[in-house]
């Protein structure tokens, strides 16, 4: 399968100062991430807070605020071209037109003081060669295809006049207005009710099938949604990718101890002592420097090597990658 997006060894760090000592603190939010997105797939990126999943996605769009954050290293190849090298006009051609992004918070995607029409028309007229009238017409059709009733009247409303789930549909409409090939959806369902989540996910699925949209990166911490809607999934921990595999394989036979822990913890499975299976310890703060594997101090299956050397991500089975010493000898 052809690769739509290739992230190669991405490193994005954030810089801040300790108030008391005046020393600079470096937070390694994304520390060497390499990930491929193929054409015609929904790739899930799963992780908890601090895993680096959002920062990875924002690095793709170069949405990292400077000087607090900086992309230190890496290449991001979109259809073969390194988009990290793009600036100004060229970057604007990619953002919105080729790669679209929707946020967890609908008010980050939507401007509360503009009508829906104004916002979507802006996207269309910026990226596509359409007149104002044409753009308006397209907007209404777009809203309709997102499942919003009375699109022609409602398009003149403001974001706050819609419910949370509807707003996410609007954000989607805006994202898709310029016919991008790749959609990055950063936890679009986290703030929504369970039944609405399903609706939005079904909508995403149908969009991928029908439109010119080729692939979707779906960032979440909700494993059940990943299981139901994604083709492949990447698991992140401590700014690195620890496992990538097709979804069914991951759900049935996860390899990395963290993935296992995450799955059991999500399902609240009880172990033999009638306790819910849990990952001991705390999520490490980005300031901590851990020697060896980043997960070693919480890992129940850790061996001596884990505390000394950091494992590399390698392909253990076709299309199944894992970063763990338990498997490196095989």
């Amino acid at each position: 399968m052809k690769k739509l997006l290739q992230i190669l060894n991405l490193k994005t760090y954030f810089f801040t100062t300790d108030e008391e000592t005046n020393k600079e603190i470096i937070l390694m939010a994304v520390d060497g991430v390499s990930l491929d997105v193929y054409e015609n797939e929904i790739l899930g990126i799963v992780g908890e807070s601090g895993s680096g999943k959002t920062v990875t996605a924002q690095s793709v769009m170069q949405l990292i605020p400077e000087p607090t954050g900086k992309i230190m290293n890496g290449e991001i190849l979109y259809k073969g071209e390194d988009i990290l090298k793009k600036q100004g006009e060229e970057l604007r051609k990619i953002r919105g037109k080729e790669i679209a992004y929707i946020f967890q918070e609908t008010y980050t995607s939507l401007n509360p003081v503009l009508t829906i029409e104004e916002q979507i028309v802006e996207v269309i007229t910026t990226h596509l060669d359409k007149s104002f009238e044409e753009a308006k017409q397209i907007s209404v059709e777009l809203l309709d295809s997102m499942g919003i009733k009375d699109a022609k009247e409602r398009i003149k409303d403001y974001p706050h006049q819609f419910s949370g789930g509807m707003r996410q549909r609007l954000a989607l409409a805006m994202a898709l207005a310029a016919n991008p090939s790749l959609l990055i959806a950063d936890e679009p369902t986290t703030m929504l009710d369970v039944t609405i989540q399903k609706q939005i996910m079904d909508l995403l699925l149908s969009i991928k099938k029908s439109k010119q949209l080729t692939s979707i990166i779906f960032i979440t911490h909700n494993l059940s949604l990943v299981a139901q809607y994604c083709d492949r999934v990447a698991v992140m921990y401590g700014g690195k990718i620890v496992e990538v595999s097709p979804v069914n394989e991951l759900m049935k036979a996860p390899l990395h101890p963290y993935t296992k822990g995450l799955l059991y913890a999500s399902a609240f499975i009880k172990d033999k002592n009638n306790k819910v299976y849990t990952i001991p310890g705390n999520i490490p703060s980005l300031k901590e420097v851990i020697q060896g594997c980043k997960f070693c101090d919480r890992c129940t299956e850790a061996i001596e090597k884990c505390f000394k050397d950091e494992p590399e991500l390698f392909e253990i089975k076709p299309d199944h990658f894992v970063r763990c010493h338990l498997y490196t000898n095989e």
């Binding site: 039944t195 819910v276 849990t278």
Partner: protein
């Protein structure tokens, strides 16, 4: 099993428009005429989405509904121990109710005063509701911290020095330091990461046994209820849609809504390589 709490025809209305010199008020019905019982020793799950009214129910149970919104109109009764109406308790009666009914909230950050140390936060119910001397209070605080997986040194630390899971532990410690009979847990896991949620649930299971707690557990996560709740109440739009034993409701949901709720949020398969 005896009945701890009996809720009869509870209705809560919030006014949506400001009353200006006698205009007719418009009301939003948060909870509409619900009734259920809560037995000693059980964990009762209250499941619903946003707008279902579950938070309103928890605030009524904690007798703070009037403190939060003076203009809310509350009808019906919540009888505790066959003697006190939680909705009408005042003064000394309310004080003794609070000794027995405590709560944990959703967001550990906003449910603690960031300007107080962990010790002072946990001490508050002891100061207000008991007559213990300073040394006894200190003992109890140290004891409860340990039982919640924290240490003595944490007494003088401020909330921003803890991780999210630890913060929620402090909130739980605050709730159980006076050894209440009932714990109302209003979505205590929703703000936490998955791996931490499991830790907190284990803590609650542990504390339930140690302190002989009866727990009302409000949530929208259906994976949790299977493992923690004995009985379930499913709420939608302020009404009870279904209730019963957890296994029955989960495996055989009678209502359409319950079915749709469950189908969308459960991990489909358990990995077959559990160690």
């Amino acid at each position: 099993m005896n009945k701890l709490i009996e809720i009869k025809e509870l209705s809560v209305k919030y006014s949506s428009k400001k009353k200006v010199f006698g205009y007719k008020e418009k009301y939003i019905n948060a909870v509409e005429g619900i009734s259920f019982d809560f037995m000693k020793g059980e964990v009762l799950g209250v499941v619903g989405e946003s707008g279902s009214g579950k938070s309103t129910v928890s605030r009524c149970l904690l007798s703070i509904i009037k403190n939060i919104d003076k203009s809310s109109v509350v009808d019906g009764s919540i009888i505790y121990n066959d003697s006190v109406d939680l909705l009408k308790a005042k003064g000394k009666e309310l004080k003794s109710v609070r000794k027995n009914i405590q709560g944990v909230f959703q967001d550990p950050d906003s449910s603690m005063n960031q300007r107080l140390t962990a010790g002072k936060i946990i001490e508050e119910p002891l100061l207000n509701l008991t007559d213990f001397s300073k040394s006894v209070r200190e003992e109890k605080i140290k004891d409860v911290l340990q039982k919640c997986g924290l240490s003595e040194e944490d007494i003088n630390k401020y909330p921003n020095e803890f991780s999210a899971g630890q913060k929620q532990r402090i909130c739980i410690a605050r709730a159980i330091v006076i050894e209440p009979e009932i714990l109302i847990a209003d979505e205590p896991l929703s703000s936490l990461d998955i791996s931490i949620q499991a830790q907190i649930i284990n803590l609650l299971i542990d504390l339930k046994e140690k302190y002989n707690l009866s727990i009302i557990f409000i949530t929208h996560d259906l994976n949790v209820v299977k493992v923690f709740c004995d009985r379930l109440i499913v709420m939608k739009d302020g009404k009870i849609v279904e209730q019963g034993k957890t296994e029955e409701v989960v495996s055989n949901p009678k209502e359409e809504y319950t079915r749709s709720l469950f189908s969308s949020n459960i991990i489909p398969s358990i990995p077959n390589n559990i160690s």
